[in-house]
Subunit: 298 residues, 2 copies
Amino acid sequence: MSRSLPVIQAGDHLAPPVFEKVAVIGLGLIGGSIALAAREVWPRALVIAVDTRDVLEQAMVRHAIDVAADDPIVAAEADLVVLAAPVRENISILASLADCITGTAVVTDVGSTKRDIVEAAGDLPARLTFVGGHPLAGAARGGLAHARPDLFRDRPWIFTPRGEAPGAAVERLYAFARGLGARPCTLEPVAHDRLLAYLSHLPQLTASALMAIVGNEAGVSGLGLAGRGLVDTTRLASSPPDVWRDITATNGDEIGRALDELIERLRALRADLPRGDSLTDTFGEAAHWRDVLTRDRS
Amino acid sequence: MSRSLPVIQAGDHLAPPVFEKVAVIGLGLIGGSIALAAREVWPRALVIAVDTRDVLEQAMVRHAIDVAADDPIVAAEADLVVLAAPVRENISILASLADCITGTAVVTDVGSTKRDIVEAAGDLPARLTFVGGHPLAGAARGGLAHARPDLFRDRPWIFTPRGEAPGAAVERLYAFARGLGARPCTLEPVAHDRLLAYLSHLPQLTASALMAIVGNEAGVSGLGLAGRGLVDTTRLASSPPDVWRDITATNGDEIGRALDELIERLRALRADLPRGDSLTDTFGEAAHWRDVLTRDRS
């Protein structure tokens, strides 16, 4: 693993941290990477972690955190709380935060759907300012073992503030995200959930469905003949189902709409197989958007 | 581009070539790579190319070929003919080969479907021995510009000999494929077309359909927020439609069956979105087969 600092100029570590006490609840790929990056970027900030004892031990070994416990009460004095468990767990932790956090704090999350948690945050007391967040960073495999401090470098980090969210909290979160190397931006929760249904949730379900079907048909010997095309197309197929059950449960309407569109497109291709006119149209659109997608990417 | 020899031990270039005069008809990614590799591995072999004048000029600049013309008649004295145009074009060239090739020769192809061309080859005179072939090598983009001599290294190369094909021709093709760095193997044409419908044709159609739908919804600004998951899942979406119209036209029944299965699986996921039981099953199968697929790959 690289130990290089994600963004820093010489002397930056002397700058005061954006938040003094950062509590990360859930040390998976994203939460673990936030902890690792925050400790590197702001050595003077305290990184508090909440997860199971097993995970916390791994995190201690990796020097990812300063303070650890399996109870959110350890985050009592945090000025930033980052909810980094699966979406529905974040929502249920949110409900108990008012009892754990004693002072004022900014609360954000890193979940892949935003409408439900933003709505649930409406019940928080005024001293806890919630701004939904979603860093668009990932890896082939989840879990703390794959966390790394440069995970967010040059990646978008979407925030979904409610209308009444104080601008100061959003600005501090932008600074926090930038400190971790990300490019922060803002979307409405509804727009976020619709866009991510297409950018992320549909590709995930498609990759998993494809891998299941191809594997069942080809078997071990057949897969031995597979080329890089199948390997790339199914890279997401190792994703953990628990995270994705929460995502589909909280974005079912938008994911359903996206799935309907894909099914309709595949049916059109299927109906037109011998002639291939539909194929020519779809390949033309696909090549155009693929160019757009890969343009300017390293 | 690497100029290193794909497989050679020192002194191997003194070994007699498996074929003395290799005619490659169609200098795209695969045909161009065969020409480049054959010239490197067997400097004493003559590599004859047939394509349009534009393509042949590029090939000359790259020193990929010895003799070039836009008419197959230039291949008259070849002892190996490799058909490397799109599938239906290969079938139509096959019909004219008896008039072009004056002596005995082994004829193979590199197309992604095998049943139609193997059947069409039944009309060849006895002096032309046809053995269908399919090197499972590819790249994100087609065309001679992306051809490279090491394209086949460690890749499977499937041959689909008819029952009456002389073993000697198959053995020479195995030696030819091995010389280019590939791992030759044999399948029945029917088994090949079914397997490839799943390993290659279904992922291609899925990647293109997915990219078209996601691009149409997300647009330029939305795609700017996409992560590596979408980028990998849609890597195949730049593939050229002309090649794929020929593939779907000659393997429509098997591709249709594979598409039906995928559509059915996506519908099951869609119907079960709020609960996610189907998702758990599909993700479990997918993760298992993904492990099998990536095991032992570099």
